[in-house]
Amino acid sequence: MTGLRFSWRRANAVIGGALLAVILFAAAIAVVWTPFDPLGINLRARYAPPSWLRPFGADEFGRDVLSRAMAGALTSTSVALLTVAFAVICGTALGLVTGYLRGWTDRAIMMVNDALLAFPGILLALGLMAVIGPNRYGIVLALGIAYTPSVVRVVRGTVLSIREREYVEASRVLGNGEIYTMLRHVLPNAFAPLAVLATSMFGWVILSESALSFLGLGVPPPAPTWGNMLAAARPYLESAPWLGITPGLCIAATLLGINLLGDALRDKLDPRMAG
């Protein structure tokens, strides 16, 4: 009955998709080609401000910022993706179990969970780096473990309320097992907060990696990541702002893309939104 009206919902999806497409495209290109060697040191180009030749300037080693941002896209996004996947999968599983079964299982898991929550990420990272060595899998594991307890808590909180709903009861009446009920009825309805947490975590992980590399615990340099570029750029906030702005924008664009697309997707999946 409505005519062709501009729909922000569609706009969300389009903007989000476009942002992600650009980032992914850049990451893909970077595998075979970047304008300059992302590791190539050039003493004459140190702190070169943006110009036609180097649209995003050069850093303290004279390395081209654009090339580094492109080369860093893959590492940053894949580290973030793996970490979030780790935390979400483990956290959701545990959160579902504790929230749904309650009782002693709940107590025991929450005990460990609260203990883990209290652990500062740096300490975990230090410990794991000592065991695994400073590489990106160590980071994924350290950050994954650090973020899992939050997921557990958020999922558990939602599940506590959903398990009292009648459709969960109905599933039990049908004779469905606990696990099936959890996965089929509880999980999808606990999805909204989980999605928010996961997309936010994506940003946190990139920034945490940044904080870690600030301390010398991140993805080993000189391999660029947005995180370590951002961390390295901090002292030059005034004198060479382009060093920080570029990776910052990359992170923002990726997050915005993921969030917008995620929201659009969630709306699409939510039956109550459909026309």
Binding site: R107, D114, L117, A192, V196, S200, L237, L256
Partner: protein, 314 residues
Amino acid sequence: MGRYLLGRLLTTIPTLLLVSFSVFVLIRLVPGDPIVLMLGDAADAETVRGIREAYGLEEPIYVQFGLWLLKAISGDLGHSISNGAAVAPLILDRFQVSASIVLIAVLVAASISVPLGMIAAWRQNSLTDILVVGGATLLLSLPSFWLGLLLLLLFGLKLGWVPVVGYVSFAENWQGALTYILLPTVTLILIEIGVVTRMARASTVEVLRLEYITHARAKGVSEASVLMRHALPNAFAPTWTLLGLVLGNLLGGIAVVETVFTLPGLGRLLVDAIFARDYPIIQGCMLFTAFLYVIVNLLVDLCYPLFDPRVMAE
């Protein structure tokens, strides 16, 4: 209720023990040694061993843990290796600084982002919505070490509205204290607004489709009231969980902000201690933050039945 509370408090003891023990072991497994750090490039093995002995670090780890635990029970958390300060009073002192910032920040962040998220949900897929979501996402991608510095340079240096470094406690001079904690608090607020807004929005979107919301509207309830009175309690549970997490997280981890704004807070104490491998301080801080976490989460758990009366407090 009282019994239940007591029971829950008792169950926190294993958590605290678990944290204490794992920190105790972990920090000793991590390479690096407080004594080597103290001696720097001139540390030779013999001297190091001698000093380690003096600090009781050469004992087997379970003996060290036992001794520490016995003292901890009586409230004595030992003395710092770095500067000899008594740990327990130090932690309490530093905690006051962190707590004042964090509590204000979380309160303000919540009272800004929850309404904001709800309005975005209410106007879902409108320009308002996309602006709020976009803004929140942008804030999510700002690292606190950048944001803090930016604010410091702008308001502290360029405009000179607030002092750049230093701290006085509220007890000494509360107006002064406010000027010192203003920027760190604002930084934290901006950092936390992103995720809380999005969470509030997402859960409100879910709730707004429900029948009782329509029913409330049918009673002529204003939209503001529909949001605040009818949608909020039902949508608030995940946001509440998140706020609990944020609160706990911040109480233990605002090291970055405290460093940028030169505040003597708990987070910086812990992080500095980690880098200095100052075992007694690390252990003390962890015990303390774990306790905070447990308390905060206990409160969060106790509140679930308020949002959804069907969830019984066991």
